[in-house]
Each structure stands twice: as C-alpha cells, then as structure tokens.
Symmetry: C2
Subunit: 336 residues, 2 copies
DNA sequence: ATTAAGCACTTAATCGGTTAAGCGGAGTAT
DNA sequence: ATACTCCGCTTAACCGATTAAGTGCTTAAT
C-alpha cells in the first residue's frame, strides 16, 4: 500500500508538501503541485484513514440502533437510514451502524464518540426530557435527535411537522362530517407525541368541536397496542365514528380490532394513520395516512449533524411537512 | 479525554504494560494487572480507535450500497443489513454504510479498504463472473459475496439454497395437479438465477414433467419486469396454469398483469414468489412464497467475513434453507 | 545598501496506540 | 559458583498522516 512517504519521494518533496497539496492548505507552486498530483495518480495513493483521523476527524457519523426485533426491518427506520447515509456520503462522511444489543444506547454512543470512532451521533426517536441526549451532551458528544424537540432538548433535532399533519388529517375527518373523532396517541414520553396531539386538538377547536378526553387513548407503538386501544374505544358507550392513529402500525392494529368487532373500516369507522409505510397502501381497505418524508428527514439529520461536527452554524430547525394520502379507510360517518 | 499515558501514570507502569493488560498479551502479574484495570476504570479509559487501527485492524466491515431508488428501502436488504450489523457487533466489529452514489461499487469498495477504513467488504447480489469481486480480490481486498457462488467466484460467498427452494415450490405446484408450469427468472447474470432455474427443472423432471422453454422467461428485477413477463406468458397459444417467480417483486408485477387480463390469481393461475417480503402476506390474494432467512444470511456473511479478516478458517459455505409459505395464490388448475 | 516581508519549501513534533527488543532479578540446571 | 532460562517490566521504534516552526531564497520597502 502506497504511503504519503512514497508519494513524497516520487515527487522529490517532503511529506509535508504532499499533505499541503492534498489538503489545499499551505502555499505550493504549480509545478510542485503537478509533480505531487501525478505521483499520487501514478501510485494510486489514498491517505490512510486511521493516520489521518488520529490528527483530525474520523469523518464518520454514528447511528445506534435500538434493540428490538424489528430494528432495521422497520421500513420507516430503513428509509431514514438510507437518506442519512446518502446525504452524509455526499459530504464525505460515512455512517457507522452500531446495534446497541443489550447495552444502554447512550453508553454505546458515548464509547463510539470517546474512542473517536465517530464524530457525532444520531439519536432515534427522541424522547421528552431525553436521558440519552442529556448524558451524551454532558459528556461533550455532538449529537442530533430525530423527532420533535421540546424546549428542554439539549441538542439540535430534526422532526416532522406533526402538528400540521395531525391537523390536516383531523380537518379531513371533520370535512367528511365526523363529530366524534378519537385519537390513538403514541406513548407520551416520545417527543413526537405531544405536537401530534396539539395538532389534533387545534384542528378540532378550529372547526368548533371539542376534544373528548374519553376518546383519546395513549397506546404503545406496536400493532397489538393499536388493537387494544381500538378495543377500548369501541367499548365506549358512545363510540367514535372516526379515529386518528399516531402511527400506521397503531392503525393496522386498530383495523384488526375493528374487523374482529364485525365493523368495516371506512364505512363504519373512518381511520387515518401516520407515516405511510409501504403496507399502508395494501391493507384492506387501503389506509388513508400522512406520508412522512423519512429519507428527507435522514438527509436533514445528516446535514445538521455534520454542521455541528464541523462547528458551522446549524441549519434552522425545519419541521418537515407531512402529506395526507387519502385512500379507502376514510368515509363519511354512517347514516350521513 | 484520557489516554493510555494517563492510565500508565496512574498505575505506575509504562504504556506498554497497559497495552499488554488490555489486550491480554504479554506477561503481567496479578497485582500489576489489577492496578492497571482500576486505573482504567477510574479514568473511564477507552483506547483511541484511530491510534489502535493505525497498527492493527479497523474492526469495521464495509457495505457498499448499490445505487437505485430503493436502496435500503428494500426490506430484503434492510433485513440482511440488520443481521449483518448485529452479528458483526457481537464479534466486536461495526458496519460502515457506503452508498456508492454514481461511483462504481468496486472502486468505492477498493478505496475504503485501501485507506484502511474497513477490513473487509460485503458484496451484495453476487453476479456470475462478478467483476466487482474480481477487481477487489485482485487488489487484495478481503470480501464475501451475498448470493450463490459459482465455480469461478473469487471470494467466499453465502447464499440461499435456491435449488431446494425452487424445487419445493415446483413440487407443490405439481402436487396440486399443474402440468403447464411457467417460470419467471431473474436476470441470468445474477448468481442466484441459475440454481433457482436448476431446482425448478429438476423438480419438474422428478415428477415426470419436462420444462417447456417457451414457459421460461427471463425478466429483470422490478415489478414492471414481472408484469411484462406475465403478459408474455399469457400471450402464449397455450398459457400456463401455474407460475413460479424468482422473486416476490416479480410475482407482484405478475399479479397485476393477471388482474389486468381479467384473471384471478389462484383460481385461474397459481403463482408462487420468492423471498417473502412483508407485502407478500398482504396482497390479494396473499402470495404463496418461499421465505428467505435474510437476517440469518446477514449474520452468516458477517461470520464469514470476520473469519476471513482474522485469517481464521472460513466456515463451510452453507446454503441457507428456504421455507415454502403456502397462502392463497396457489390452487389446483382450473377444471381439476 | 539594508532590512523586512513573503514565498515555497523542509524539519520535526505530534496524535495514541502496538510491539519488538532489551534488561535486571529470581529460579534452575550443571 | 557459573551459566542459562524465564518472568515481568521498560524503552523506544513504529504505524501514517497533520501542522507548527524554521530555513533559504527572492522581491519590495526604506
């Protein structure tokens, strides 16, 4: 493997000069530069990454994958990772994947940063009062969060405009004539939970309705959680005619519960999800949902984190817009 | 950030001794070892990765992501990556994701290896007479391929037992009473194409049938390719009553073509896919398919590549078994 | 003419580890 | 008693880059 020394010898200069040419620093005459560059080309030289990052950065971003059976199998995460890795690559960074296994995420992340293996970290599924972020920032680790930041979030974050999305979805249900509209929420410790709820309530208020707290149920994140939540809603003395689920996965579970109860999704109860997973277009009926630009979110995370790492000004925290995709799971209320 | 020198001072030894303790090499008395270890603990020391890999390995595996809109969005790939990264992590390696963008895959891979950024590479979708593998192996890069290796494959490979899988699927179709069985093949330059075809032909022969070459059409990999392939089969003067598609994606396209032709999948033509993508269970009718253990495949790739990197004997090339998942897209032939 | 400033380089320190070689001292064989 | 071998540790070279400091030369300023 050719080293910088080899290049220097071939170009009859010192390694310092080679380094200056390659990094565009220092002052080098045209003739010398050309000799160096042709030596580089002739030897097919590329600087050793370890040696370089010993003095500078690793040019690597880290992503700690939370444990759990789905992992990267979750299409939403996979898309985000795709956008993240591609945007990072165009800025000369690569993405290191670190499955946390049974170690705490923040611990693994701190190790990766402390050993200089990565320059910064992406935190998935930002929580309210996120302990991982707190630990890492306190340890001097640069990181950005994926999710809606609240006031106390100690690091920059990139999120979806869930308030807008939930409001759009709710307006659509209102426009169809629904008045008893339920909502299945994500766990409130997820940062994305609150703005979604706010958008829901705001849109209801804007159309003269009021949120009925009995029709708002907090669920987990799994399909089973959505199933249970819908069962709870159906047990209500005066059940809703429409429901907004904070994720597609919850909506899928809700659909099962409706089918089990002998109800037809769309005709008997209008249902909207959030995320637009690939499956959403293929359920029966196809799920009306909010499309989340996960790739763009990954890209935005990359840009933000790289700016942070390079001590450049951080791009303003944009909320990425959701798009309502109307399919077959929404219809006017029964008897309307 | 604490360095090894700090640890050495605190334990009143040289950095060499610290290194010996941490790596388990050299001979160190129990007392010294304990002094070192408690200094390490007290300082929360972890060795700098760049410094370490300057002399040894990077303990990093590389995965070059082929260009294309799907990328990691393809669930089959995402699952493989999940298995790969998890298995690598349990052996102390992490996975570096490098989207190739518009650069040739082998070139990017060669760069990553030459710069010492990764110790080895995983090549996706191994081709017949794979040029990437040839280039990389010639350049002294350690790599393993994902896909069925043929005799000339210059590197170890991990693949599915497609011959067995295709045979199982074909037998199932024969058992249902089909005689005119078609096959939609992957591009023949993919290494996985041939064994699938062989399994198909062998199972037909074993049940006394012969493959009709007019019923075997080579397609691309996209849904549109599957669509076109099925149209071609339906244009046949004596169309098939069953069809085995070499991938779920091709099968999805074929289903659309059948629907467009006014035919009902299952009743009018039995269809089997391969891979068992999440969508396969949600098409209408649900697709009978061969379940591919993509996570296990990723894990096997990791084990193989790490063995290669550490110059240990390479695990014997196992073909991972496919499991036939019978759903609703297969039925006896019309009028049987 | 003299000094100062700039240019185009080189020298050498440095990053933080790994590891071959060396070196006392204790234990064993002759 | 002498030599030989291990053991447990240290010294220092080394990995391959970056970069501060230094050097000799040319050119501009006084």
């Amino acid at each position: 493997m050719a080293t910088m020394k080899d290049v220097a010898e071939r170009a009859h200069v010192s390694t310092a000069t080679v380094s200056y040419v390659l990094n565009g620093t220092g002052t080098v005459t045209l003739a010398t530069r050309q000799r160096v560059l042709s030596a580089v080309a002739a030897l097919n030289y590329q600087p050793n990454h370890a040696a370089r990052s010993l003095r500078t950065r690793a040019r690597t971003l880290g992503l700690v994958l939370p444990p759990g059976p789905a992992g990267l199998g979750d299409p939403a995460l996979a898309e985000l990772v795709a956008g993240l890795s591609e945007a990072a690559a165009t800025s000369g960074y690569y993405l290191l994947l670190a499955p946390s296994g049974d170690r705490p995420e923040y611990e693994l992340g701190a190790d990766l940063a402390r050993t200089g293996r990565v320059d910064g970290l992406v935190l998935l599924d930002l929580r309210c009062d996120d302990q991982r972020a707190a630990h890492l920032v306190a340890a001097g680790v640069r990181c950005v969060g994926a999710g809606a930041p609240d006031a106390g979030t100690p690091c920059p974050a990139v999120g979806l405009d869930l308030a807008q999305g939930a409001a759009d979805a709710t307006r659509h249900l209102c426009a169809l004539g629904h008045t008893r509209i339920a909502m299945i929420a994500l766990p409130t410790d997820l940062a994305d939970s609150e703005p979604f709820y706010q958008g829901f309530v705001a849109a209801l208020a804007a159309s003269g309705r009021e949120a009925d707290s009995a029709l708002i149920v907090e669920a987990g994140t799994s399909q089973d959680d959505g199933f249970a939540a819908m069962q709870e809603l159906l047990a209500h003395p005066e059940p809703p005619t429409a429901c907004l689920a904070a994720s597609d996965t919850l909506a899928f579970g809700a659909m099962h519960a409706l089918r089990d109860a002998g109800l037809e999704v769309g005709r008997d109860l209008a249902l909207i999800g959030c995320g637009d997973l690939p499956l959403a277009a293929h359920t029966h009926p196809a799920l009306t949902t909010l499309r989340a630009p996960r790739r763009a979110m990954g890209a935005a995370l990359a840009h933000c984190l790289i700016a942070l790492v390079e001590r450049r000004p951080i791009p303003p925290a944009t909320r990425l817009p959701l798009q309502l995709i109307i399919r077959k799971s929404t219809a006017p209320p029964p008897g309307a």
